[in-house]
Subunit: 241 residues, 4 copies
């Protein structure tokens, strides 16, 4: 990722992120990925309402942190853009947000069993991922984060974590760049599948210790470009060698 990201390069990466996440099945017809505007921290970039695998640069809209489209853009936005606005407001360090219904993660959002890092690739999970139970503050809903207050509530449960699960719905992964957020979304899915299998073995499971997770997470950030380049080459027609 470019140190001095320009709007054009962020849009290009955002399109790549859509294609990569669709290619992995982390996004299907639903879910979305956004990036904070590189020049305006009070703006974020997100496609119009469209399946992620079909997103191109022309589809990208700009929103303020209340999740209102700016520049008079009247195209149909995602219903759940408030997820992104809520998180960007709460977490100034975050530059990218993925919201996904990735399959293996759904069981952990619905179960009393916590999602924990079973290997170093998912060390960003720390001790465990928090779960946003929308019923607690909003009662019986259609499960969507469809207003600003819900986005803020979700961001509060996310707190300083990298991932927040959403009961009966999906999860969000965040990062200081698109490459980091995409990495976390992909390996949240993988970790969930592997943790489920480990539990099914019936023995005791050793998870990453919090210290191990912290050290590993620091290391992983240094190598995040490697899968990003691979995935761009494979899914986004990128210039990988």
């Amino acid at each position: 990722m470019n140190e001095r990201a320009t709007l054009a390069s962020v849009v290009e990466d955002l399109v790549a992120a859509n294609r990569i996440l669709a290619g992995h099945g982390v996004l299907d017809g639903f879910g979305h990925v956004s990036a904070r505007h590189p020049d305006r921290p009070d703006r974020y970039l997100l496609s119009r309402s469209l399946a992620p695998g079909l997103v191109s640069a022309d589809d990208v809209m700009v929103f303020d942190l209340d999740s209102n489209a700016v520049n008079g853009d009247e195209r149909r936005p995602y219903l759940e853009r408030f997820i992104h606005g809520g998180i960007y407001r709460q977490r100034p360090d975050i530059m990218a947000v993925v919201h996904s219904h990735s399959p293996s993660v759904i069981p952990f959002g619905a179960s009393s069993v916590a999602l924990r890092p079973i290997y170093h690739m998912a060390s960003f999970l720390g001790r465990q991922a928090p779960v946003f139970e929308i019923r607690e503050r909003f009662g019986i809903t259609d499960m969507l984060v469809r207003e600003a207050a819900q986005g803020v509530a979700l961001a509060e449960v996310l707190n300083e974590h990298a991932v927040v699960l959403m009961r009966g719905h999906g999860f969000c992964a965040v990062g200081e760049s698109l490459a980091v957020a995409v990495f976390r979304a992909v390996y949240t899915e993988t970790n969930a599948a592997l943790q489920q299998q480990a539990i099914a073995l019936g023995g005791t499971v050793t998870y990453l210790d919090e210290g191990e997770a912290r050290l590993s997470e620091k290391t992983n950030r240094g190598v995040v470009a490697r899968p990003w380049e691979l995935w761009k080459a494979r899914f986004a027609g990128g210039g990988g060698r």
Copy 2:
């Protein structure tokens, strides 16, 4: 989907539905999808006996609600067309029916554990999907719905639900359009896989509350065009971007 569906547009959608369901593995060499005739509510459209992935417009036959081919069409029909006739007769609101042996759903048809919505994408399941046990009324059979009385019995168990499981056989998903029925068939498969994984975690599982399911289902109907367009583009050579 076109508000004023013409026969040609329904046939085109029906071919797309066959390709999409085959592409997802919801249909393999077996199973089928039908649509009610747009101008004649007492007729329905269904391919001749052919693997769904190979169906073209020329293969579509027209049947009356007793599941007799009309127009003197003597091509070999599916043995189980009575599923479709039975449901269209019982449910005037239904415009499309999918019958599938989709893998993850089979265990729930055979198990005492009910299929329930573990996330909002499967909110059409309501509280839980009913199960058609063919032995109850028909004793020892070859498991197929191969006569009108069996189709009617199946439709009675379906009742007002969106999905009915068939013990030792498969399931049916219905909808007020092909896009809705296909959406439900795909996410029935996904929900089944995820519910199985959630149960295997060994903790307690929170399913969608009936109120949540009802509200979510209403929302989902508003966005069903998004995956439909994606899937047409991917599997049916559609004009998606």
Copy 3:
């Protein structure tokens, strides 16, 4: 399948069977499929030692029922050709044999839990598939069926069944045609995966009753051409539409 099968048509189908089974992952680098010679019931056709996905007509060798190559063919045969010879000798009704290490089936060969038909597509399993435990008669071996006596012993456990599991090794599926044997091999894999998931749900599981299995099996034989044509079209460059 042709009623009056010629040698050329059987070889063509045998190549297709290799490609179809490789395409489904039922065969990988190992495993093999054979056909009885259409004019000489005391001969069978089997590729030289080669990964099934790479087999062409030129690779097909002819063996007698002692599994000796005839016509002076000195190419390297599969070590386990005795499986085929043993079964063709024991079962005059059988015209095709698949030997596979297909993944989901392996656990049932190693487990005390029997493989049973969870849905009508696998009704050929009858009450349950028998298991060949090579230790019983041959003690500690390399697990392979590498001599005539072992092939005969395997065929005896197969008896009148359609499928026999091999502990710690794989399974065999047989049929009165290549289309039937391939169908059974594919759905043995699927049934195993689904039965495992059904058991993991933790409730009670209702399997096909023996009467249901018998009736369903008869029906399925009437429609076996449908997946065969589909699979030829998809995996073997066949002329399906």
Copy 4:
């Protein structure tokens, strides 16, 4: 594999091994495979830091057994090259090493349940695969084998085995050729998935006896060229038919 391997042929096989393992998903953006230098037993060949699916001959670097790059090559190496150096030093019989985070294997590294051979394809596992618990000697780390002492410690746990699991991290498979090490890495993944499923069935599981494993392993070495040629043809643009 060539009996008199030349440097050029080993590099060619090493590139193929990278592509094959990436094609199987045994390597993704991470993990790596190396070969001992055919003329210099105190040297090994390993790509620069790059996703395995993108590796070409030009990316191959040469290291000494302390895992220092030779020939003044200053390209960025993998952080965990010490795995390879440690094993080549400890095991003069070993000519190739795979390090992987292959999904189904991770649960066994984290669980108290041992990875054992459930079928003959994984007979190289012997009685069971040992587990390297990095905490035992190195305390709280970032989980990586990033210094020579850690590589030596890992090699000591590997001892005379073909595979060593790494808790919370992955595993290594070794062999007397690239074809053998790749075979073992692929079937370690498969065996892990199948053993997990067998355990989930809830009955008793019969694993390969140590004598069976030893005999089978000897047989398998004789046929390792068959999948290697298949996989080269499929994943590495090789000259298989």
